[in-house]
Symmetry: C2
Subunit: 466 residues, 2 copies
């Protein structure tokens, strides 16, 4: 049958509010509609942006607080301009104080301290060296002076830039090296013109001192966000999420058939995916640990708290997460069907192991959070080992059944399990591959969890020693 | 028997050069030796530092080149100071040009462009707004003026700081937001004093223009390092490393008994660990993709090259790497011993699968590198699928043997494999668990490799469309 085109060709435009309009071939209304569409699209996008911003503000009030702190610091430093006596004091160079505040204000106390120290040291070193080079240049006569200055700028800038590529320097003194280049260039270049070099150096240092001390005081006194505490909480939360994901992952595998698909709601999916934030947290952990080293004693943390140990714990938590990632979304969920009676039989061992694993992780996260040795952890690790052994035994007892090629299975003979060759339930190996994989990944996760427990213990001991 | 202490108590100190000295109880020499030890330790450390630096310089000449480029840019910009006519031209504000060069000089062209544009836009917006606010403040009388200025600084600084927490802004305009705060504070604060506000704004913009254009020209003309090319190579290299690691990992498992342990030299260990750099490359990939978007056409890349697709390819390469991580160093290497005849039997299937997987990865890395559709890739993926099927069949044929609890095995009956129940080789399930795990992780890796192949194809198509 041939379709009848009863309606003439027409253009429809779908508006963002859900309605749709027929476009009449009229240039004016066409362009007006286009414009309207653009405006609506822009407003929609802007609205989405505002919503995202609002979400951040509500979920992380500390970030909102940080913004107010930056505003406060800037207001304070700009007072130097408005109050005449203060202004005269720093000789019109108050600009440097404003600049320092803007650049040095960071979210965590450690980052602020690190940047402040870097800025001060970088400026001081470069200033001293700049004055020295300038003196040498002046002594060498008017012709040689710019040549020496240029060569010094070129060489020192190149060397300082290169130092920023060396990992140990980059981690701690990246900003300092930049400030060194900046100050040295400014001093040696402007020294050619400005006569009062020492005055300038002194002004810069004192304005930087004013700026950094305002920033440091505000960041430490007004709702301080400590990099150390952030690192501590990050590791703790990652452990908790991992523990939840592990539970959810194993439960999902065994409950797959029991529950209908539509009951897998968003919340449980979120728990299943929670471990993912652990996978890529290495860079964050390292930078937090770096900043934490600059911080004074705060909360339960002394100065010299072993922050590096957190990185080791974090790394071993991550190695657990890799295993869960291999497990999750892997073919074990979809492929070959494991016979129900086997699944039921193994579910209690697997769930027992995953439960004791996740209990160990939870206990470790509590131990980290309270910074005490958990009295239960040894018992729990022992329990986890037992669960591993039981699961291995269950696998061994499965061997007692005949795994045969004949397809005559008695699918519901749960009671036969482990009763030897008397009345064997017959399964093919291919059917149990997913189960075996799940089992050995679980055992691997248990091994890595044990390593995590060791790392936590080592960390606690090195805290006590320090 | 009681030990005889024939020698008196003495202190020995081991020197860094391998000798050891007996310390005589003399205060002078004691402290001298201590000092000597400190100096030696310091020199040793410094020497190690120099060696590391030298290694970077030799292995990555581009980084050395970058340092010279920064030196060159600074030398060029300082010419403004030395040449009187140019100096007069920018009205003594040449300092801003020096500052711009130092801050904007980044390793890749994209990063330099991104920072330059951010700096220019941030300065312009903040300058315009600052002048506007300043005008409003001036109109409101002398008493209200500082109040309005202070309030504006507080509010705008807080808002701009907050915007830096929003991921989409942070990725692209983080530096711009900081410059906005800086400039706005400077303009509205110093506006209270400096009369020639417009002149100052004009000077700042022109010095920034001078600084950024010097940096951009040098970074683009002298040995340019393109973020796009870096991203391209990073993804390509990660694929190659993954492919090598996969080969090495499987080979190690099956050759474990053949080779003695001491033949596992450093080189092969390095190959085995090569995949690890893929695990944590997400942040680098994202920042490179962000910078690459700013870059003009270069090499084989047009402006608007689909850099985001590289991130998808990178993510799927990483998901392969997670599986290898679960495989590598897992208990399959150490635990229960798989019977030799089974290992031999399976080795050909497993090695065939891992070889075809790694061949696909290598071919994909070549396809990425040449930006063409590989003519062989479809056949190779098909081959990989066949290898998966064969491995699965091998598992199924294993089921034909009787897996029994009796420990009377005929360990060397390799020829019996697959010949059905005629003369069965008997193994327990527990013995083959590691093998089954390896098998199903390999199958999972094959599945993820296929997804990587799809991502590469999609990426190529979206490049052609763009």
């Amino acid at each position: 049958m041939v379709k009848q085109n009863s309606e003439p060709l027409e253009w429809r435009i779908n508006m963002p509010d859900g309605t749709s309009k027929v476009l009449v071939p009229d240039c004016m209304s066409h362009s007006r509609l286009l414009l309207q569409g653009f405006v609506m699209a822009f407003l929609n996008k802007f609205w989405g942006f505002l919503q995202r911003a609002w979400k951040i503000a509500v979920n992380e009030p500390n970030k909102l607080m940080h913004c107010l702190k930056v505003g406060l610091a800037l207001s304070l430093v700009s007072l130097f301009y408005y109050m005449r006596p203060l202004y005269e004091g720093v000789g019109g160079n108050a600009m440097w104080a404003v600049m320092t505040v803007v650049v040095v204000s960071e979210y965590t106390v450690g980052a602020t301290l690190s940047k402040s120290v870097n800025r001060a040291i970088g400026t001081f070193l470069a200033g001293a060296l700049g004055v020295g080079v300038h003196w040498v240049a002046t002594q060498s006569g008017e012709k040689l002076e710019p040549v020496i200055l240029q060569a010094a700028v070129f060489l020192l800038a190149a060397a300082a830039t290169f130092s920023r590529f060396i990992p140990s320097i980059k981690a701690r003194f990246d900003y300092g090296a930049m400030i060194f280049i900046l100050t040295f260039s400014l001093v040696s270049v402007s020294g050619y013109r400005v006569e009062k070099l020492f005055k300038m150096a002194h002004d810069r240092l004192s304005t930087i001192a004013i700026g950094t001390s305002i920033c440091i005081l505000i960041s430490m006194l007004v709702c301080p966000v400590w990099a150390g505490t952030e690192l501590h909480n990050l590791i703790k939360n990652n452990m908790e999420k991992l523990s939840d994901s592990l539970d959810g992952c194993v439960a999902e595998y065994f409950e797959n058939d029991v529950k209908a698909d539509n009951t897998k709601n968003e919340a449980s999916n979120k728990i299943l995916q929670a471990y993912k934030c652990t996978l890529n947290s290495k860079a964050t952990e390292e930078s937090l640990a770096n900043f934490a080293r600059w911080e004074p004693a705060h909360g339960g943390f002394n100065f010299g708290h072993p922050w590096q140990e957190y990185l080791k714990v974090g790394a071993s938590v991550r190695s657990c997460a890799y295993c869960i990632e291999a497990l999750n979304g892997s073919s074990i969920y979809s492929d070959a069907k494991v016979p129900d009676f086997l699944k039921k039989h193994f579910s209690k061992f697997c769930i027992r192991l995953s439960t004791s694993c996740s209990a160990v992780l939870k206990e470790l996260s509590i131990a980290i959070s309270t910074m005490t040795k958990s009295s239960k952890i040894d018992i729990m690790v022992e329990e986890m080992r037992n669960a591993v052994e039981e699961l291995e035994n269950a696998l061994k007892s499965l061997s007692k059944q005949q795994i045969a090629s004949t397809e005559t299975k008695t699918g519901d003979s749960v009671n036969d399990i482990g009763e030897g060759n008397g009345s064997p339930a017959v399964v093919t190996l291919a059917e149990i591959v997913p189960l075996v994989t799940l089992t050995s990944l679980l055992i691997e996760i248990a091994a890595r969890t044990e390593k995590t427990a060791e790392a936590v213990t080592t960390g606690r001991e090195s805290r006590i020693q320090s």
